[in-house]
């Protein structure tokens, strides 16, 4: 019974994908036709914004990326993401996901994590921007998400840029927020190499908070 179910599932999946692809293709032409029709209609109408092929591609990519980022215990690799789209459009999808306040916070944070798979400059610049302090005027719920995003961005930047992340993360070693200091230590300790180790050794002498000492000890025994 289970094997029959498997076979049916495969057939159903294939059929759905086929139908879906055909439907999407039909939608494209239908939309184009509709947009033309609207353009030629009388006035007192709203401006028409037809969906461009690029936007459609991005929507499909976004859907696939969301699914890839939905695993309870699995996170996609760079290869998984490359299979969806090339780096530039994929990073755009990730950026849009991270910025979209309508998206669940966990998904937005995962989008930032995924940026860490890219060492392209666009990703680096984005992560550096996400490490910056959250403006005080930000509403509290969004401020919390952006605050957590700082931590994810720090880790992602350190992973992708290694020693080149030190200049951006080192200032956070003396941030008044204990948890930011701890994440900076973790990021630099894991990915910052010998240069970072020197910084941590110096920090060990001056910041005697028990949690700081515990975290530093993982990298500077």
């Amino acid at each position: 019974m289970k094997r029959l179910t498997h076979t049916l599932a495969i057939l159903l999946a294939a059929a759905t994908l086929t139908v879906g692809a055909v439907a999407m293709a039909q939608d494209d032409s239908t939309l184009d036709q509709a947009s033309q029709d609207r353009a030629s209609s009388d006035q007192a109408t709203k401006p028409v914004h037809p969906v461009t092929p690029e936007q459609l591609e991005q929507a499909k990519a976004r859907e696939k990326v969301v699914l890839l980022l939905s695993g309870y215990h699995h996170f996609p690799s760079r290869a998984d993401l490359d299979a969806v789209a090339e780096a530039e459009p994929l990073m755009a999808v990730l950026r849009a996901l991270a910025e979209d306040e309508a998206v669940a916070p966990s998904m937005r944070l995962r989008a930032v994590d995924a940026m860490g798979l890219y060492d392209e400059s666009a990703a680096t610049l984005y992560l550096i921007a996400r490490i910056a302090p959250v403006p005080e005027s930000t509403p509290s719920e969004e401020a919390r998400t952006l605050g957590l995003m700082r931590h994810r961005a720090m880790i992602a930047l350190a992973k992708s840029r290694g020693v080149h992340s030190i200049e951006h993360l080192a200032p956070l070693l003396s941030d008044p927020d204990l948890q930011l200091r701890l994440t900076a230590i973790s990021a630099l300790g894991k990915h910052g190499g010998d240069s970072a180790t020197k910084l941590l050794r110096a920090l060990k002498e001056r910041d005697t908070h028990h949690a700081i000492q515990r975290e530093i000890n993982k990298y500077v025994p």
């Binding site: 999946a13 309870y72 996170f75 998400t145 005697t208």
Partner: protein, 677 residues
Amino acid sequence: MSMSAATTDPIWRAPRLPFSLTLALLLVLSVFLLSCETLGKVGEFLDSISDGAACTENFECLGGRCLTARAGYPGGYCTTLQCDKQGCSGFSSECFRTKIDNVEVAACYEMCRFDGSCRREAEGYACVVLEDVQVCLPPNATNATPQGAVGSGCTNDLQCGQGGTCLTNLFGGYCTRLGCDGSASCPTKSTCVTLNPDAAAADQVDGCLATCAADGDCRHGYACQTYQGSKVCVEADRVETKNPDGVDDGKTCVANVNCKGNTCIREAEGADGQMSFPGGYCTTRNCKDDTDCNGSSICISRERSTTCMASCAADSDCRTGYKCRAGIEGNKFCDSKVEYIAPDTTGANLFDIKCGASKALTFTVPAGAIGFYIAPFTSNSRPIKPTTMRLPNGSTLNIETEYKFHAINPLILESLAPILFPASNDARFSNGFGPGQYTLNVQSDSSSICYYMIPKMSAGTKLDVNIYLVGVPNLTAATAAANTNMKQVVQVMQSIYTSMNVQVRVANYVDPSKATIDNYSMLRDFGDIFGLVATSEAQGSTVDESLAVNVFLINDFAISEAPGLLGVSAGLPGMAGVHGNSGSGLVFSTASLGRDNATLGQTMAHEIGHFLGLRHTTEHQGAEHDPITDTPQCIYPNLGYLCSDAKNFMFPFSLGNDQRLTTPGQSFVVKRSPLVK
């Protein structure tokens, strides 16, 4: 602190017992020891002569002093004077600098029981707070605050009296009355305030705080500040040195009053006759960093909290009986050579744990059982792996091949390898683990293998959950139950298990210590996950209370090696009944709390499912499926919602807030977990 007393009462005799009387007492004791058959009787005898016991004459007291009824102590009260020099008799009393009959003395008073009660309540003795310590004294003996009064220190709700709640997230605990409605509803010397004014209106919780006029009206660690228009005792920004005239951390002591930090770790003789902390050891508890310590001591993490210990470079820097060792922070400090064995909070004493060198673990499942749970582990963190199990009918089950769906713990936990039998409703397994003699063979290079077995006598229907709040913004044990978001999360989780005929109850909300919150509100590596889970404690002293799932809610994960983590179960299944180890709980990010409560509830249900013994319906590569016969499967789970198991709560992808389906087969397994009672 002065005590009322008669002025001419002949209670003031020589401070020490005459030798002849001491000898007489010892002779009485030794005769009693020779004739008594049980340690219980010895304990009773010691209780009858220790500090706080009834008396009429000095020689009746182990400490050598009887405060008589004429002095204001109904039935008499044994004490030990000059305890700042010689300590108190035993560990159930504490030394105080006080006045008795207008004379400055150092005297011992009996400490209250764990629940804030006194053994001599019938005689009018009540638990009061004297210099932040709960002691039993007669009502007219002191003007100390009664234990349980709003603002007094505590470690549990029982100590705060009927209707009281202990805010354990505050320094030293803080008794309050929750749900007050205006100050008239609060006891005297307290007023009603909103404890979490920054929360949404529907989530705000009101409680009583102690009123004050100046800092001196508040206990140590608290300051008198204006809060919501009233002057109340709140946590001070900095805790001042309690006993400036005391000695530094690390020095010898016999009582708290000897120490600047007001805590003396007294020397204690173990069952083997060895002495831990010889000569006593002054310390300061709950330090944040080294500046909270005095002398050359440093702040280290210890026993779920922080404490100040004398720093050192080598053993020669330490006193006799101490060695120089490094803590988890990597800093060296002088520690007792003989380890002090703290009271067990793991619940391990409730289960029959066997340890030995044998790698063939035999056990008998009693008649009437429908299954069992077995947890082999090593106590020295060496890896362990179950390989085969001999069944009562003589056959052998190869766990690594035939039962591999429950052979994953060696990879996750390494030194803990619990397994549930049966973990499948498949006819090959569902009725195959009944009564009889079993032998579980394990592979390990450890010289000591331990294990315990919990038989399953019937399918369970109730699951208790302890929720630890580790730095979740605006959420504490006092406010969590009423919090709208928390309630929604719990409701979703409950609804999923209700569909499997299992009723989930949040048995406890727990505030961990500040040190735990500092270390673990964000987790940055897998060691942190296991370290946090290992802070779990049994929330009661019965087997029923120990059989509860520990859920740790943190701010978020920031683990470089595991991006995107939502939650994690430490074990599949996890360690049941025994707490305080790396397999005794689950951890969840609360990043979505307030924005996507349903998904968080589903995530919790999913991970608890793992902890109880469920696998994913389909693994993310699609090559493997769970061993349950009625769960749908998918060849390629990356198809997401096209998969027939996409809406099952154990699907490997979190696709939305409508993944709540369960099957009877999953219910079969879950109800056989020892945690489902």
